[in-house]
């Protein structure tokens, strides 16, 4: 039918990338690289903590990567990549000055507005610290708007701790509690050893007036959520960031279905009570 009114208005094609350049590249652990990008000529536009971009290595492919930088500096598009697949490995090899494709930012981010006036507990596992870092920058930039801020971070071993120097800097602040734990360590490590869930019972937050932001491997998130509930936090106060296969990032390709939701369109950050049953169902 020729009824033009039935169609969405013409917009830039969401599937066509802009060109961006790598400005800086830093190694942040075994196989982990942080890339700072700058989009050619375009208005940076800003992003919300928890959102992600689709990054293309021309001729190789495209992958979803969370923004891991400071939302107050949106012209520096910071992404932290683990070089484990063909595209992410190629991405990690792009030298400063090199061109990549950029689409985004996409998705629903962390509930920063709801966090105002409350204690905020960030529970990160492994690379899951990267999507939480923009939220942390925001919390620290507007520190007076929030109650206690607690970061509980678990990773595999001491040499895999992300953003280590920054964590050490934050640790010197008196207005944030940071606990780092690793799954195992050699004798020269003097921090905690044990799974991240063991940090939750001791964390300083008021469960009746707190929000928890959780990001990490799905198994770790399941256990972290049950430890948060044991600590008295309501399901409505727990948010998590989900990972699923994504090709389009705009709700059109069907890959990131998670039962009733499309992770790219409805997430990646979800309030836990919306996903409760799904996390317990295998292979959904």
């Amino acid at each position: 039918m020729g009824d033009a009114a039935a169609f969405a208005a013409d917009r830039a094609d969401p599937m066509v990338p802009r060109v961006a350049r790598v400005r800086r590249r830093r190694r942040d652990g075994p196989l982990v690289w942080t890339l700072e990008l700058e989009a050619d000529g375009a208005d940076p536009g800003g992003f919300a903590p928890g959102q992600f971009n689709m990054l293309t290595v021309f001729g190789v492919g495209e992958v979803p990567i969370s923004l891991s930088g400071d939302p107050a500096a949106p012209d520096r598009l910071v992404h932290t990549v683990r070089a484990v697949g063909p595209v992410s490995a190629a991405l990690a090899r792009v030298e400063p000055g090199g061109a990549v494709g950029l689409r985004g930012p996409f998705g629903a981010g962390w509930p920063m507005a709801e966090a105002a006036g409350r204690d905020v507990v960030l529970v990160a596992g492994g690379l899951g610290l990267a999507p939480l870092r923009p939220a942390l920058y925001r919390l620290l930039a507007e520190r007076e708007r929030y109650g206690n801020v607690v970061l509980l971070y678990g990773t595999r071993s001491p040499d895999e701790i992300l953003f280590r120097r920054e964590i050490e800097t934050w640790r010197r602040r008196l207005d944030i509690d940071i606990e780092v734990t690793v799954d195992h360590a050699a004798g020269d490590w003097h921090g905690h050893v044990g799974v991240v869930t063991t940090l939750i019972p001791r964390a300083a937050f008021d469960p009746l007036h707190a929000l928890a932001l959780v990001c990490g491997p799905e198994v770790m998130m399941r256990f972290a959520i049950s430890a948060l509930r044991d600590a008295g936090l309501a399901e409505e106060a727990v948010y998590l960031s989900m990972e699923r296969n994504m090709k389009c990032a705009v709700g059109l390709c069907g890959h990131c279905q998670f039962g009733p939701v499309l992770v790219c369109r409805d997430g990646p950050v979800f309030r836990f009570d919306r996903l409760r049953g799904l996390l317990r169902t295998k292979e959904i």
Partner: protein, 153 residues
Amino acid sequence: MEGLERIIREHPFFAGLEERFTALVCGCAKNVRFEAAQYLFHEGGPADEFYLLRHGRVALELRAPGRGAVTFQTLRESEIVGVSWLIPPYRWTYDAKALELVRAIAIDAACLRRKCEADHDLGYDMMKRVMPVLVQRLQAARLQILDVYGSHG
């Protein structure tokens, strides 16, 4: 002696302990301290004491050829070090090392086990306190086995 009783009653491991049991436990307890890097016990040794941590952190270690000592868990104040004391053959299955100055209450395991045998109510009470610690450590070990942050996902 009254100071020891108060410390034991206030330690989370013994939260809500009946008064008559407190006296029984107290009779097997003493104050101890370990310097940084000093070992509380070694793998294979008899589990004849366990520790209520009051201050300082303790690393649980296993030794693997070519890897040296690998820490798989750290414990801190308000936790207990040692669960093998209640389960035959009463032997330690790892090393426990003080990471800094550690103050603790050491409980004589043989002494407490005798009292548990004589008074099964006390024995059951001890079981109910040790079992959750065991279960938590088992769950943590499972998560570590999964190696969820590893390169396979």
